[in-house]
Symmetry: D2
Subunit: 368 residues, 4 copies
């Protein structure tokens, strides 16, 4: 904040009418260091942001045409996959720091995009981009010019499993904090990790369609990505392990919950686990360990973190099956997207890490 308490940096949101665009606008408008000077929307040009986002009716801003970008300190792109790689030069002209919420700059190599997506238009820029998750990549974020906010399901999974790799409970070849380790996806170990994810309907975005209409989507436990989910690519890249990944839609709006069934090679004690997770996360402002205390909320739950940038991580041992079960819960639109983006921008620009992200969540709260 400047000496007079006014925001010191300007920001814009490209793709401001969608769910994550609105979430960025909510966070940035309450951020002490950012002034939002532009939000674009092709479909809603000239409408107020409150027209799309009822929680932002108090914000005096109208959507503008995405072709006319203003110069800002930070540009956040909340556009569909493929848009950012096409418009990245224009984004970088407009802003010294570009934070992209799509998948366009998450992976390291063109080969990965060929395998998991439909290739990449600007592969030469991939090594300029930094993955946004500070718990994984804080050191590389400072001063980054392109920041790629992680996939929500990948974020939940990586945060759940990361301490096991750091503590050598799993033997993968984790990339975090070692930039340039590009070939991590070829893992030699054969430890089995099954990740069973449950997500809310906001992951599908504001568009809608028959499957996401209220009558068809309410009350579901619906396998929507039984195998082959693209977020596997991010997990492999950063943890160096192939995970068996399945995603289910359940009846909530915000939230991603990853249950990781892990079979380590050797014996693991509860003390080992507490050591690993405390060591990894005790200084992290946005990761809480929730593992088997009293009361109603004894393990991570998405509804406990809804609206916040928090991840809850917890675990339980199943000695009879030589298994450990790791639970990880986030708000997919926050820690899994817009909140992670703002957190990363804070780090990239040398601001207070928690600035604009202090909301503690609500209790009780339903299916937020």
């Amino acid at each position: 904040m400047s000496a007079d308490g006014e925001p010191s940096l300007t920001a814009s949101v490209v793709g401001g009418s969608g769910f994550t665009g609105g979430e960025l606008l909510r966070l940035l408008s309450g951020h002490p260091e950012f002034e939002v000077v532009q939000a674009t929307s092709r479909s809603y040009t000239n409408k107020t942001v409150g027209h799309q986002h009822p929680n932002l009716r108090g914000m005096d801003l109208r959507f503008s045409d995405p072709e006319d970008l203003e110069s800002v300190d930070v540009l956040f792109a909340a556009t569909p996959h493929g848009v950012s790689m096409e418009r990245i030069d224009r984004f970088r002209e407009a802003a010294g720091t570009v934070v992209d919420l799509s998948a366009d700059f998450r992976l390291d190599t063109e080969g990965q995009y060929d395998e998991w997506y439909d290739g990449h238009d600007r592969p030469e820029l991939l090594d300029k981009a930094e993955y946004a998750l500070p718990e994984l990549n804080r050191d590389n974020l400072e001063g980054a010019e392109i920041v790629a906010s992680g996939g929500c399901n990948a974020t939940a999974t990586i945060l759940g499993l990361l301490p096991l790799f750091e503590a050598d409970i799993l033997g993968g070849d984790a990339e975090q904090s070692s930039a340039g380790d590009q070939n991590s996806s070829s893992s030699g170990n054969d430890e089995q990790v099954v990740v069973d994810v449950k997500v809310g309907s906001s992951e599908g975005g504001a568009g809608g369609g028959e499957a996401s209409s209220h009558p068809e989507r309410s009350g579901v436990v619906r396998p929507y990505a039984p195998t082959g989910h693209r977020h596997e690519a991010e997990i492999e890249q950063f943890l160096g392990i192939d995970v068996s990944f399945t995603v289910h839609a359940v009846d909530m709006i915000r939230g991603a919950s990853a249950t990781c069934h892990v079979f380590p090679d050797g014996p693991v004690s509860k003390g080992d686990l507490w050591g690993a997770y405390r060591g990894q996360y005790e200084d992290e402002p946005f990761v809480d360990l929730v593992a088997g205390g009293g009361g109603v909320y004894r393990y991570p739950e998405p509804k406990a973190v809804a609206g916040t940038n928090k991840a809850e991580v917890g675990f339980e041992l199943d000695p009879g099956n030589k298994r450990l079960v790791v639970f990880s819960a986030i708000d997919n639109m926050m820690k899994g997207s817009a909140g992670q983006a703002v957190h990363a921008a804070n780090v990239a620009l040398g601001l207070e890490e928690t600035a604009g992200l202090e909301f503690a969540g609500l209790h009780p709260v339903g299916a937020p």
Copy 2:
């Protein structure tokens, strides 16, 4: 805030383990001027507040015995009806300002308590208490020693109807801003007002029971107070009109939505209504007019204000039936309870009115 940016006032919450107690702790812990020095709970003495409220795990505070009250600047009582009237002397010894969230000090006269409740232990204190709703009673709140936070359903209704009385569209005998008007409940007019309210399950509190168990309470449209709801007494007291009041439970956790079907004596135009509502609320920080714009959210909705201290108010004319329909939506735990209480405390103590109440809400959000 004191010159060093630290909180300048101390606060305590009696009855901190319930839903509204938790909401008070959430608001006060994020309030720039209050330091929470005590939260009491008979059932959870010595447990952390996070044990009951997962969103407050980061708060370093344990519940203490309600018999041992610390001296504070403001004491908030989130106890069941009847407790505050019994313990009011002890509360006032502990704090110069007592804000009570129960019904114990909302009504003006012992006779009203005899009619609507089970009488009153300390009727001589009733004229010392001020109703907490600043939109109705701001002038009398400054310096008040006992503040009575309004009932959630009454709050939604009063905010919806108040402009009609102020603008003489309805001829009731509104008390607001004229303290001491004790005989307002005898209304001479016979304009019909039907108030049909829909509320969430948090109104029932944390207790539970068969009717509020998830299997029985999910998906309901359940008439739970067909007639004779006690909040009628508050509405009569402040608006000077008997309302026909019916309350339904619906499937949400937070929220109260009042639809007021109003039949004025004379003709009313849309311009009259906009004039009345704008005149009443344009300077109010926590009341938004939402009346028939574009987009998905064209009228007041509880989910648009969940977690916030906002009330949304809107209306529509039905000339064929000589009716006007007024919609009013609040979060029953916020504007309808804890948020109103903090707002009133801000006014009572001369603080910034919006301090600690800036959260804008979430979009999208489910049944919060």
Copy 3:
């Protein structure tokens, strides 16, 4: 049933891929007297009915082109408003009895269609059509050639209020059981009736759109027809009274709940009410009186009748406000549409009234 226990009549469903079309197929396929020989769908021609309706996967039937109608005993039309009036000659060629689920044949006069809809193509047929609600119009249904299934919100309201007119507690000019009384919509009385309706998302059909997407539609209490709902026309036509009608969307899929706030001219006792409602409904197989007993379910609730052809009706007196409150709950897709249609077809064809409609509902059940 024929002597060999086989269905004796053939039936078809035009518009079988939508929600009410599917409900008709469910009911008819379990009906002892009907064999479903055709279901049409323009969009899903040649797909199995199970493709659209997972509960009908066991049914060996594919959608056919709506242009090629087979000759049947009864044709059910579950098409959007406007289609039946355009195709009625073709429907009548195909079947001796046409049961239409749209609004196209509900009203008596062309003038009503000019006022409430966009006029009518075939007004000369309106006096051939009979309103499907047997509780209102049983005598006229026998042998009817065109049957018009009532609107869901109108059905709930009419069933709630009808006994008050029959028992002269309200003085409207109810049409039921007196065919030909076409001018009933001009009511001389000025008793006020407010009808506040809460409905589920299946009322919007299978289409979808932003407002009915799961993230935007979940957890709502949303005024979607504050005034001027077209179902008012049916209510006026049959009860002879103008009602003040407001409809809210709430978080359920099936269900319509009407709360009628009634202000009769004279005094009414609880005994009067029991007499009126028992007299009207004690022999009705599909109307249950639920008025203030013990347990969790003391008044009508949509979730208690979900999937069934039942209406629950109940009431409560509010003497202080000279009001009586009537509650009426139905499944909008059943008693409010497809169930009513099959019930009427049973009557029209001289079958057992309850045939195919015996499902008792589920307990517990969520937001069905």
Copy 4:
């Protein structure tokens, strides 16, 4: 059915006021061969069954004292675990066939009860009891005197995995159809099977408590049995394999969905899977294969089977991870409890298997 179309057998329900007791009463009252002559409830003696189960208001029956059992052909016990083993002699005096819905007679040996439960009072009766799941144990059910309805989560899992064992895709030592194979729980193979289950709130029964209150239970993805769930014992017993089992509560009322992550020793093709599942289930009236067709419902979903006795089973191959994913969805109160019990009773008594169980389910339907 007797020649006159009347029920030919008498039945009673002990523990009729709970959720599964009510479901039994619903099924039996619509069953062509059973007349319900008694329903007991200690808490609700002399109340009508409709007092607890609003869907059964039309049933002319009052709860009677569980100490006074009438003689019937079949007694269904829907009592908490531990009651049946204590009262089994009395039950068997009252009825030639006892169908128990608790865990008291599901396991084969006293040792299993010592390991997984709190021992067993009447171990000598365990070999008289037959597991109720006809798809697993049809041959042994005919004429059985004690029938033990399976656990809901175990049922979903067993139905999902059984074809893999029968087709030797997994090498466990499945017991089904070979009575007396008591030592199957010691499995020699080391194929990994992870079962991640999502269940509705009716599994917790009608009791309630803070964790199952609507505000705390709505919108959850809550790990409630991370490890050590007792249903593992049944799965081991019948499939001969240790499964890694984790159960989550999600926001629905009825339903259990098991996602089985299976890592077979050898390669498996999609054709192998179709062969295995078709071979196992093509003649089963209550198992549907749902594996990747078109439309919205492409895999098993609990909401598609709510209220029915159906299990949906499907699968997908994940060759990259040498994994196959099996999905299995049931209504926990039906196929997972009361429906299975009635199905087994039909088999035990030589009735039509599907009698009383024909309900096809609803579409659309929310969180039933």
